[in-house]
Subunit: 248 residues, 2 copies
Amino acid sequence: MLTKGSINSKPKCDKDHKFIPCHQCAMESICLPINTQQQPIELTQQYLTKRVDKTTNSYLFKQGQSLTSIYAICTGTFKLTKHTQINDEKVIGFKFPGEIIGHDALHPKIYSHNAIALDDASVCEVNVAKLLACSYAVPNLQLSLVDLLTRQSYIAQKQYEVLIAKSSAESLVAAFILNVKKRYSDVTGAKNQVLLTMSRDNIANFLGLRRETLSRVLSKFQKEKFITISNKLIQIDNLAALFKLANL
Amino acid sequence: MLTKGSINSKPKCDKDHKFIPCHQCAMESICLPINTQQQPIELTQQYLTKRVDKTTNSYLFKQGQSLTSIYAICTGTFKLTKHTQINDEKVIGFKFPGEIIGHDALHPKIYSHNAIALDDASVCEVNVAKLLACSYAVPNLQLSLVDLLTRQSYIAQKQYEVLIAKSSAESLVAAFILNVKKRYSDVTGAKNQVLLTMSRDNIANFLGLRRETLSRVLSKFQKEKFITISNKLIQIDNLAALFKLANL
DNA sequence: CGCAATTTTGACGTAGTTCAACACGTGTGG
DNA sequence: CCACACGTGTTGAACTACGTCAAAATTGCG
């Protein structure tokens, strides 16, 4: 499961063209200083950052486990889910390359949800105890950590805004496509395409819709020439129309 | 508007029986050290924390303004709202004594929503620039800040969970009552009572329901002996039933 | 007290759900 | 190689929870 760690150097991001470069990663501000600095943190830095590969459908962590690490996604996508007392899952979010997973467990030190790889993925794992120890010694690092946390909660906020607006199904779906486009377009290359790595079921679950409703809305969007659907790949043909529907 | 600041001493919390004591305030961990410490932060500490009174319906800050301060609520309650392009407001949350407002503007340094007092309120204002300056000098303070941020985003998370679960209107309302009870019961004294300082319109708006639907659900809860409604005061008569409905 | 704002109740319409059938891969085993 | 099961996605028809519109009841404020 574990590949070679990225000690004292940028993690190697070249083994797959979908790897996000470090300078686009939200973890960079705390990852690089730690791994390059020749400061009094020599002891800890050896093990702070570690590259981990995950196969499709494998858990990065599970709801209820104690917090050990936070993760930056290098490649691949993840879904975040919670158990409901009925036997099914509730999808509470998706995460894309360059984003952070697990930071929302810093309080109360327990992962509040599952993180599951939607495709073959690769993450940089950062041990929290060691991160906090390092950051105690390096004030700049702490400020970076504060910055990271505020940025990530901003992203989360943005994602939830769409949901709490709770307008029509069409507006939810339009907003979802635009949100994914904004966060994930770098990876696919083509600027007007969105790759929905998750299943329709997962999307519908996240949006609080039935899979049938989602399907109908997507079909309608295609009929009205807003998008072209090729399985999981969505091509956006009328960005303005989606924006208008999304109500942003 | 401004009362005497709370320099080098706990803010006085005695002028109103609804004042939350400092030891129950989320800001305590960064407020007390700054205001009591005789460290090299003498210059800034004079102006870091300041008590501010707000009258009903007044803005603590407005959406779009640059971030200057974050606030701890001493007494009173606030609603957080956003403008929609149509001329109305969307309520995105409520805040109670002991909780923090404005911290979610740390990135991107602009308040993303309005904060409006629902009743005569009083807050402790903490200047962000000075807080960050102080925290740079005092590592412990930074860790407290990290802790504060993670705790508050945990509270926000909990509040939104209810919404994204997006089950029935009944389950939303039940979960809302329980959430308020948990966060606000200290203030009212009586443990099985919840004081809804906000209007029904505000609650409905927040939950993504129509005021009529909310009203009907509350009436139904009363008819089924789950609660007793006395205007804004809700007495909980069957906690278990609400929990079951809320799906938690 | 009296008027306006807020809240509740009633009757009816609609968006989205539910249930059910079908279509399209993809993998498995005979 | 086909036959079949199974997961995933699409489409159709009936149902229902919530929204809309309207009016009555209650509360709050000058």
